[in-house]
């Protein structure tokens, strides 16, 4: 984690209200991992006192370019759209814990709901670099909100679902998952909390559906690992990237917690944003 200055190189509205910005931030481009995020300061402290957390969308260590993908939801995100190439911003990062891919996993299923694509986009790059096969299931409200396939690596199989049926599968993206659960070694998801909760429920029944529930040791079954540890997450079939209103983003303010099944709230910024699906208490539990 460090404070770094980043210069805007390119800024585009790739979808209605959604922006993709490229920053030159060599310090961050090296050593960041998929699933981590940056906490970005807006220019106007008198009105906007908090930084904004953004997923690292892509990083390129060779050029030092980091891209951020965000939707304009308020005055802070609107401020970023007014930046021009050459303007500098202040980034704190990389923050949080990354996705953990089991070395034996060859088939990765990525599931993104809307802007959730920004949370898993970088994992596609990492996986393809490591020679893995990647299928991306993407859900949006309608065709106009669908992430352009030109922004994805060619190797990714891209499957789209829209709520209104204007493109691809007519319905929720979660309905596509069962078709891939036998193929996938691991799944990684980012999106609205109801979508993640539905996925978690789906995955909980996966072993029974596939008839592998009693087949004995797989993925190091016998050993016990501490819940929440990188090793435990690596063994989980589904990892989710959670979102929460955030204050400091370094674990000091305890503003961004989610309830976990252990009964202890965990910080999205520090223990997350990536969690194993069975760590999260989806019903709340406060």
């Amino acid at each position: 984690m460090r404070l770094a200055s980043a210069e805007l190189v390119d800024s585009r509205e790739i979808l209605p209200g959604q922006w993709l910005q490229a920053y030159h931030a060599p310090d961050l481009a090296v050593g960041s991992r998929a699933g981590q995020f940056v906490h970005v300061r807006t220019g106007d402290f008198s009105g906007l006192v908090l930084r904004r957390p953004f997923s690292l969308n892509t990083t390129d260590p060779a050029t030092g370019i980091v891209t951020l993908h965000f939707r304009v939801v308020g005055r802070g995100t609107e401020w970023f759209t007014r930046l021009r190439p050459g303007d500098a911003i202040d980034l704190l990062g990389p923050l949080g814990r990354p996705f953990e891919v089991d070395p034996r996993s060859q088939h990765l299923l990525l599931i993104a709901g809307g802007l959730g694509i920004a949370g898993v986009r970088m994992l596609a790059d990492e996986a393809i670099r490591a020679g893995r096969q990647v299928t991306l299931l993407f859900g949006a409200a309608s065709a106009r909100d669908v992430y352009p396939s030109s922004l994805l690596p060619d190797e990714v199989e891209y499957v789209v679902a829209t709520d209104d049926g204007s493109l691809g599968h007519h319905g929720f993206v979660t309905e596509l998952v069962t078709g891939y659960e036998a193929w996938a070694d691991q799944a990684f998801a980012c999106g609205p909390t109801p979508m993640l909760a539905a996925l978690a429920q789906l995955v909980a029944g996966r072993r029974d559906r596939l008839g592998v529930a009693k087949l004995g040791r797989k993925r190091g079954g016998g050993k016990t690992v501490a819940a929440g540890s990188p090793a435990a997450r690596r063994k989980s079939f589904l990892q989710v990237s959670m979102e929460q209103n955030m204050g400091c983003a370094v674990g000091a303010c305890l503003g961004c917690v989610v309830m976990t099944t252990s009964g202890t709230p965990q910080r999205v910024c520090r223990e997350g944003p990536v969690f194993a699906y069975d760590e999260i208490a989806w019903e709340g539990g406060w």
């Binding site: 402290f45 009105g47 930084r51 209103n245 400091c248 000091a252 303010c253 202890t264 709230p265």
Partner: protein, 381 residues
């Protein structure tokens, strides 16, 4: 009446008198002063020239005495502290902040037993500030001591443990367990957390209860004892007096102001706890008022907190009589703010020829009986 402050100003009175009265206005407008005006109309008695006059010997910022005595042996290396709840237990910011350059660290509110806190969302931004309702999530005093005290003991910066509770007994028990622990430099009694159901605020809004809990903790520990005031009261003065009379070494003013925010669809309050505490620059005028009132009501030092973001905020709080300030919300935007403010304060003092920042304290208070006047009579016709 105010032995502490009198002692401070009396040593520097001959120069402080001049400085306090004359440059107070120009200090603000220094940036706007045009050099042409200064040369065409020389007015030797006005403006920064007056304050530069005694500084025949150049003072380096490192020579300026920034130490703060909060009583009972608690000496801060500089008057810029970090506020409870915004800096965790001091270790979270890692290499981004050099903790040894802070004036003091108030750690996250600590209770007797572990608390899981309030349901999310717990924070949201508001105009010029933010609301939080963490609900005192913490692992309990024993875990805090075990996990962090050893690290704290290696720091030059004093760590003050913010203590919260639901009953006098809980406050006393936490204080007792902190007593004598190496690395714990003091206690900040949080009797003003607006985000917990039972206890919390009730001690801060009633002078009798505030005095009672302060006195009970005072009997339980010899640690330096700060008590944090709530702005959610009609009149702070009787409460401040009760706390001071009960044996507190210093006051901290203020905690957050209670408020709510709505969800984007306006179908419910946004925060999981409904109510949150407002902090940030929006709070500063309220904090300034309460510090101003509290300083005149008690004879113990007051540590100011509320929207401190830049040097002018620090100077304002010192001017109304605070001896130190805490930086809170501003840390979220820029974690290096506290250290920069300490540097800027030293530089400002050096530039004005001050050997100690104490000369900046209480310049805006009304002249009280028995207090050396800071009005510059020598400039009157």
């Amino acid at each position: 009446m105010k032995p502490k402050r009198r002692a401070m100003t009396s040593t520097a009175r001959p120069v402080a008198g001049k400085r306090a009265s004359v440059p107070r206005e120009p200090r603000r407008s220094e940036g706007a002063r045009s050099p042409a005006l200064a040369t065409t109309r020389p007015r030797p008695a006005v403006g920064p020239r007056a304050s530069e006059a005694p500084a025949v010997v150049e003072i380096a910022p490192s020579q300026v005495d920034l130490r703060v005595d909060l009583g009972r042996g608690l000496i801060l290396p500089n008057p810029i502290m970090v506020a409870s709840g915004t800096f965790g237990y001091g270790i979270e910011y890692g290499d981004v902040v050099d903790v040894d350059r802070l004036g003091g660290i108030c750690c996250k509110g600590t209770t007797l037993k572990p608390r899981i806190g309030n349901p999310p969302p717990r924070v949201t931004e508001t105009p010029g500030g933010m609301l939080n309702s963490i609900g005192l999530q913490n692992p309990g005093v024993d875990a805090v001591i075990e996990k962090y005290a050893r690290t704290w003991a290696t720091w030059r910066t004093p760590v003050i443990v913010n203590v919260a509770g639901e009953s006098v007994h809980e406050y006393v028990e936490v204080a007792r367990r902190l007593d004598g622990v190496p690395g714990v430099a003091g206690i900040e009694l949080n009797i003003s957390c607006p985000n917990v159901g039972a206890g919390g605020l009730q001690f801060a809004i009633d002078a009798g209860a505030a005095g009672e809990v302060t006195a009970a903790v005072r009997r339980a520990t010899d640690l330096p004892l700060l008590v944090k005031l709530s702005p959610n009261v009609a009149d702070i003065r009787p409460i401040a007096r009760a706390i001071a009379d009960a044996g507190a070494d210093a006051l901290t003013a203020i905690n957050t102001l209670s408020g709510i925010a709505l969800s984007p669809r306006r179908d419910r309050p946004l925060l999981g706890n409904i109510y949150g505490g407002l902090s940030g620059p929006a709070l500063k005028p309220v904090a300034l008022r309460i510090v101003y009132e509290a300083v005149q009501a008690v004879n113990i030092p007051v540590v100011a907190i509320g929207g401190v973001t830049e040097l002018n905020d620090v100077l304002d709080f010192l001017a109304v009589g605070a001896v130190a300030v805490q930086v809170g919300t501003a840390i979220f935007a820029d974690p290096t703010v506290p250290i920069r403010l300490a540097d800027e304060l030293a530089a400002t003092c050096a530039r004005q020829g001050m050997l100690a920042y104490r000369e900046l304290i209480a310049t805006a208070l009304p002249a009280a009986k028995g207090r050396p006047s800071s009005k510059g009579v020598e400039y009157r016709p």
